[in-house]
């Protein structure tokens, strides 16, 4: 349990370094990346491409193992259905992403800057998580 927590700490640490180096923590850059229909900044395409590329290749190698190094099993999502709730959630998330230039990772990565916009965003994001447990619960 403790070892998992330590491993997790370092993963979070490196994740932020990656976000910071790549430019994902700059809202202006993210908005530029989403401005496909205007003045498109393509650099963040390379962030997604290299992150997905690394994950894709390493995933093939890792899942040859029976179990993870520190846990009893791999917890890999098995859902394949596409429901209205997920797509509607994705669309809502996209609106918030486009307004702020921030998704959950960069919010955490820049929380320490104390910028008022990030603090407000974090507070309302947590409230949104709460709401998602109440609104539009999937039918069992």
């Amino acid at each position: 349990m403790m070892l998992q927590a330590i491993a997790s700490f370092f993963c979070g640490f490196v994740f932020t370094l990656g976000l910071a180096i790549s430019g994902m923590t700059q809202p202006a850059k993210v908005v530029g990346f989403l401005d496909v229909l205007g003045n498109w900044d393509t650099t963040l395409v390379f962030v997604m491409a290299s992150a997905v590329g690394v994950y894709y290749i390493a995933f093939q190698v890792i899942t040859r193992r029976k179990i993870p190094i520190l846990a009893p099993r791999f917890l890999i999502p098995t859902r394949t259905d596409l429901d209205f709730r997920s797509i509607a959630g994705g669309v809502m998330f996209g609106v918030g992403w486009g307004i702020s230039g921030l998704c959950p990772g960069p919010v955490l990565a820049t929380l320490g800057t104390g910028t008022s916009s990030v603090i407000v965003m974090m507070g309302f994001m947590l409230a949104g998580f709460y709401l998602s447990n109440i609104i539009g619960q999937p039918k069992k």
Binding site: V54, G90, S100, V118
Partner: protein, 147 residues
Amino acid sequence: MEALLSKTALIYPIVGGILIGLASICLMLFNGRIAGISGILKGTLRFEKGNYLWRVTFVLGMVLAGILVLLVFPGYAVIEINRSLWAYAAAGLLVGLGTGMANGCTSGHGVCGVGRLSNRSVAITMSFTISGIITVWVINSVFGGMI
């Protein structure tokens, strides 16, 4: 820091992306978990025995690394865009509610899900990317880039 923000320096997006990919795959290799930031963070709101501490330390690692980067590169401070605090409040609510409903965000669906070639994650990633593109277009062309 100037170079970090340069539009032409592709080395930064690529190196940064590789680090994001490595951090994500290491969480799978060591803990057997998907590195989805929204899911990890949402999980810290409710205590669950045996499935809690790793979430808190992941969040802590992310925040502390951000503080470290800020100390080393003071220019890391967020350069604000033309948005009011009301806009950030609305955005936060939409991001929290939306990722909660979709069970993931740019990391869980966009990196890990697409990286596992999950059709579901590909579709959700397309939904938030297209919606983000339309939102930015509306803000820029209807509201003059300010909201």
